[in-house]
Subunit: 377 residues, 2 copies
């Protein structure tokens, strides 16, 4: 189930339509997800920071790949036909002249992603050379806007990743329990994800505590799990180039009643978010629907609920943020996470997360059903 | 075995000495490895592209973290004491004002990594705002230069990662053989890496073919391994924040004699590279020592041997390239890969890779000994 050439052609057509409206001669793209969106070029080689990779999407005609020769064979397997290469790394001219010549051949103003979540994956020295040679300006969010609305094939891929993670989460009782170091749980959970079909596991976070966790981004320590502690695991695994991003909460033995109450509140907030996530609603509306439930739960007064979800797809997080200021309008085909969190009195943070597709019939959950109570392990 | 505060203080002192020579008021850093080098801030949360993270290293005084509030707890566990946060994502001002105020408070010209392998992990719109507010110029390679020479603790960590991968490579017979799809081999090899102690497995590549492989960056297909085929697996796994990066070659049943001959040539080239990798030699010298052996092997005449190795450490690839034009001088404490490749007549590419520390007594291999012939599976 690979993204088909007609879908790439349709993506290009939508981009070119938006570029015409913006008066752009071409888009210049440099990051993994942006290149892959228009080409299908999928490789883990991006882990190496050494080589830059460029794609020029002209206002008319097909995309032009300007890439290191080491990638020519793989790019040749995609639908891209105009592939221009140099032998990289080149300490004097690492593709910059070839890129500038290509941009000048295409002509017109060059749009690059300028906004939140974007960056130019190229040396600043090279960027300055390009900016001196052509007129570069913001793509006005064209690429992010296109990527935010998923096709049926993309939704199927994300759903498959969700199912894989769901099967791994269902097996956590095999690997976690009283006395097991968290670092071992992390290693073994990634193993479960691979056994269940993940291609790789780019992201795993977690937290432990009786009444929630201190922090949700720290690496695992060797501290053993204790009876009564809540364990949260949050994974973004990849299958066929698409992420899931959701978590599950467990408890070692019997939970503190307040933790169970907090968890119930998060499920209720998720449900309120799902109901609010209608076509035509704004990201902020979904935030408020969830924040209202959390405010009436066992939360510390005055807590900043933070971001309560976001888009996902080719990246772990992309597109809208569920915050009070995000006025992005939901349209059918968007895929989002609902990720309510609560700070418990005398405790830490508790977070629940599920994944949903926005459809004309409302938000449809694509992560497997969450368990109604903290899962005993 | 964590990097200690005295080591961070020493890194800072070396940076400040170089900054004084370059006339810089501060360094502005934005990427995972650069921030971690000066702080010890280790998290997989960088997988999310949403939030920028900044570190300001002033010419005098301690580093200042300018980061999203979600990272404050974890940064607070490092030796960094001046931690300035904002609630991110902020659609109007995602930390830019706070960053500019901090840079102006520190004063002087601001150096950022500008050269090969670097990029600014921040939106171009934010970069333009910073460039309008302060004088920004190249850091003249200060950060890359510091990172290239490893401490004893860093070398111990890389060596540990090498040992973990070595144990996983030794078990490939358990998971690969005639008829097994390559995609399953990839999944299970990552599982072995985790079982042997990897924290996570950011990189896995491979190739299959009777006389070498077409390509070394493509994802695995479901094609089953066939008798007589060579299988190469190349992993960059992480333990305690440090990579190894080496490969191993196997053969399903008995190899083609030419493949075996090619493999022997690569081992000889690696040995020649090891002998050439003396303190005071240049990267180019090591390249030529290896390329000469390859030219006398069973290689296709006129083949461009490409890059024959590189530095490694906190990133899969970093620092020097073993190419004819890289005049980097080897100093004790550098960690490099030797990665000779050969194109076999009538076949594809064959590559071998091992990891070495440069020392006063010569290059010391830190990946486990390679097997003398293609390993039968």
């Amino acid at each position: 189930m690979t993204i088909t050439t007609p879908e790439f052609v349709a993506r290009l057509a939508r981009a070119q339509s938006a570029m015409a409206a913006a008066g752009l001669g071409a888009l210049l793209l440099s990051t993994e997800a942006d290149l892959r969106y228009f080409t299908g070029f999928l490789t883990r080689f991006w882990e190496s920071p050494t080589r830059p990779w460029y794609l020029v999407v002209p206002a008319k005609g097909d995309p032009i790949a300007v890439i290191p020769s080491i990638g020519a064979a793989l790019m040749g397997k995609t639908w891209i036909r105009d592939i221009r290469t140099w032998v990289s790394p080149d300490l004097n001219d690492d593709g910059v002249s070839l890129l500038i010549a290509t941009l000048q051949e295409v002509g017109g103003d060059i749009g690059m992603p300028f906004g939140l979540e974007s960056h130019a994956r190229m040396p600043l020295a090279a960027l300055a050379q390009v900016q001196a040679a052509v007129t570069m300006r913001s793509d006005q969010g064209i690429v992010a806007g296109l990527r935010a609305v998923k096709s049926a094939d993309e939704i199927a891929k994300i759903t498959k990743s969700c199912a894989i993670a769901g099967r791994a989460f269902a097996r956590v009782g095999e690997i976690a329990g009283q006395g097991v170091p968290l670092s071992r749980v992390f290693r073994n959970f990634q193993r479960l994800c691979l056994e269940e079909g993940a291609d790789w596991v780019p992201y795993l976070a977690g937290g432990v505590g009786r009444l929630g966790y201190d922090d949700v981004i720290s690496p695992a320590t060797d501290a053993p799990l204790q009876t009564g502690e809540v364990l949260m695991l949050d994974t973004g695994l990849i299958r066929d180039g698409y992420f899931c991003d959701f978590d599950r909460n467990y408890v070692v033995g019997a939970p503190d009643p307040l933790a169970e109450e907090g968890y119930a509140c998060l499920l209720a907030a998720t449900d309120a978010g799902r109901k609010a996530a209608q076509v035509g609603a704004m990201a902020a509306d979904v935030f408020h629907a969830m924040a209202d439930v959390i405010a009436h739960g066992p939360s510390v007064a005055g807590t900043d609920p933070g971001r309560l979800g976001h888009g996902l797809g080719m990246q772990l997080t992309e597109g809208m943020s569920l915050i009070p200021t995000d006025r992005t309008t939901l349209v059918a085909g968007m895929v989002i996470t609902l990720e309510p969190g609560i700070t418990l009195p005398g405790g830490g943070y508790l977070v629940h997360e599920d994944n949903f597709v926005i459809s004309a019939d409302g938000a449809v959950q694509i992560s497997p059903p969450a368990w109604p109570q903290l899962q005993r392990i």
